[in-house]
Symmetry: C2
Subunit: 334 residues, 2 copies
Amino acid sequence: MSQKLFVSAQEVAEKAGVSRSAVSRTFTSGASVSPKTRQKVLDAAEALGYHVNHLARGLMRNESGIVCLIVSEIGTPYRSSLIRALTQQLQNSGKVAMLINTDRSDGSVDLALRQAIRYRADASIILSGLPDKSITDLCLKNGQRLVLINRDDDREGPLRINLDDEEAAARIATAFVRAGCKRLAFANSEAGTPSLMARERGFIAAAATLGMDVVVGRYGHTGYEAGRIVAQQLLTLKERPDAVFCATDLLACGFMDAARHQFSMSIPDQICVAGFDDIEQASWSSYQLTTFAQPVDTIAREAVSWLVEDGAALESRSVRLHADLVWRTSIRGG
Amino acid sequence: MSQKLFVSAQEVAEKAGVSRSAVSRTFTSGASVSPKTRQKVLDAAEALGYHVNHLARGLMRNESGIVCLIVSEIGTPYRSSLIRALTQQLQNSGKVAMLINTDRSDGSVDLALRQAIRYRADASIILSGLPDKSITDLCLKNGQRLVLINRDDDREGPLRINLDDEEAAARIATAFVRAGCKRLAFANSEAGTPSLMARERGFIAAAATLGMDVVVGRYGHTGYEAGRIVAQQLLTLKERPDAVFCATDLLACGFMDAARHQFSMSIPDQICVAGFDDIEQASWSSYQLTTFAQPVDTIAREAVSWLVEDGAALESRSVRLHADLVWRTSIRGG
DNA sequence: CTCGCTTTTGCAAGCGTGTGCAAATGCTGC
DNA sequence: GCAGCATTTGCACACGCTTGCAAAAGCGAG
């Protein structure tokens, strides 16, 4: 199409009767412009519908203002609430979020990071999978910052944010014991994510300290349906558990529904249930799930403030946050 | 910092012993390069870790490859599943999604569109609020395409995707009557969104045709908690309803929980419930909600295919999709 | 080998910005 | 009015890329 599309600083300059640099400086904070010309420029810009081209600006400044969010299972309650918090924080800091969905193949996190590099993203925040060492090196070499949330903890360079999964697992184990539970179980998926496995290990270890065994059920990938299936595995055992710690709230919801509707069990009288994440559904009156709250706002704040801070971003940093236990009625006592 | 950051096409050209244009052409599909030089370039690029700068490319081509998703309440099940589908489709078409959260102020949709213009987004998809006419004009004038999903339907220029809300409302009304229900109710929020109001109007109109009245309850903004409150309004009436159509599934979940746990009612024996959206929770065994399924994948496909299609994008277009009724057990019979 | 044709290649202009540098302007105090 | 200074302004180059254009190279036929 032959029509003139965007209006450039040049045109604004002409209309305002100033030089193009004056226009540029008007829209660059901290630049030297007299109030008079500044106003002339602003008027002309408004009249013409001018908007600074962030593509060109990013090209010049070597700083695009873009932050990539690399995430799978976007539709999941916990993930989407984290995305909400992150976009919020990013926008507060003048950044903008580029969302990359990695639900498909397995190398898709690497592909996503490549995309991030192409758009010269200032940083990438990874909520899913774990990228190749070679790619992360490429990112770092390209001056891109990396944040790993609830991912592996032995990585060089980036910021790693994790929760105190083991400590939480230990707390819930003692809570079960205090509630008089005798046969502990752990419900997990087969995803093998670091944080899920940390909860499993922590729970087993804590139980051992208290002189108890844990029976573990795992199935599929981390969601409601898997919770149901694991419930079927665990509740048909000869020694039926009377307490189960589910690796996530979604698993817990599936587990509770199966326990109640398929096995006609009463919670917490016949079995105590705990979860992790504190998704919205955990507070619904059908579940009233006792669970650990992911501090999503703190996570987001921590991540974003590290991204925008200009000093010493190359040294790797590890943040361990605390997950508060939210007491509801799926465990006796409390 | 003085270190060299990104590697440019120039450097790749030198290493490969060809001109810069050869490098450019190698990474531009449909350009004329001999297989021999092409391979030389690819090798050099791989060795140096080169990635095309999409900022610069977008600047030249006047086409950034960026599509803005403008959305509020990102953490909500329906919204997040739509985001999932949209990012998926966009990536399939070689586009990338920029996610803008408009949870905060009321003019934030306009702000978001401004941001979209700054990054020269090829298009914006709006899932929340409704932008100022002046801004949408600006977008269109700037060659940006606009998609409105479940928004107002009398807009010029953009693609509008809506569901057949009235028809769905009519279908559920007859379903209630067929189940023998006598006193119909509608549960809504106070958001006043076009689609919510269309469902309300449609339901009332259909009921009138069948010679029945509808009592309407509205509260707060569209979510679980509002559903509970509306249940308290409606179930304490002298003439307690025996059928309720909830404007969304979240409202329905809240309504069902209140009906069961606060009013000890049995569903569907004492009251039939229907929802809209078919979020994941609707299929959970605690709810088993009969509801209309938002065809999120179709919506996403429709939106994205219109965006990438190069012909005739300026004429405005309106698509009305059908919402299938998913029968579960929250209505008698079926 | 030469001619005519197609494919490949390099040159250079341009996309819309930011910014260092030097010239110009404004202001203060004599 | 003028020197001395701080502030503002314009010029011109750079950022990394695409692409039209013309020159160069390849290629088959005579």
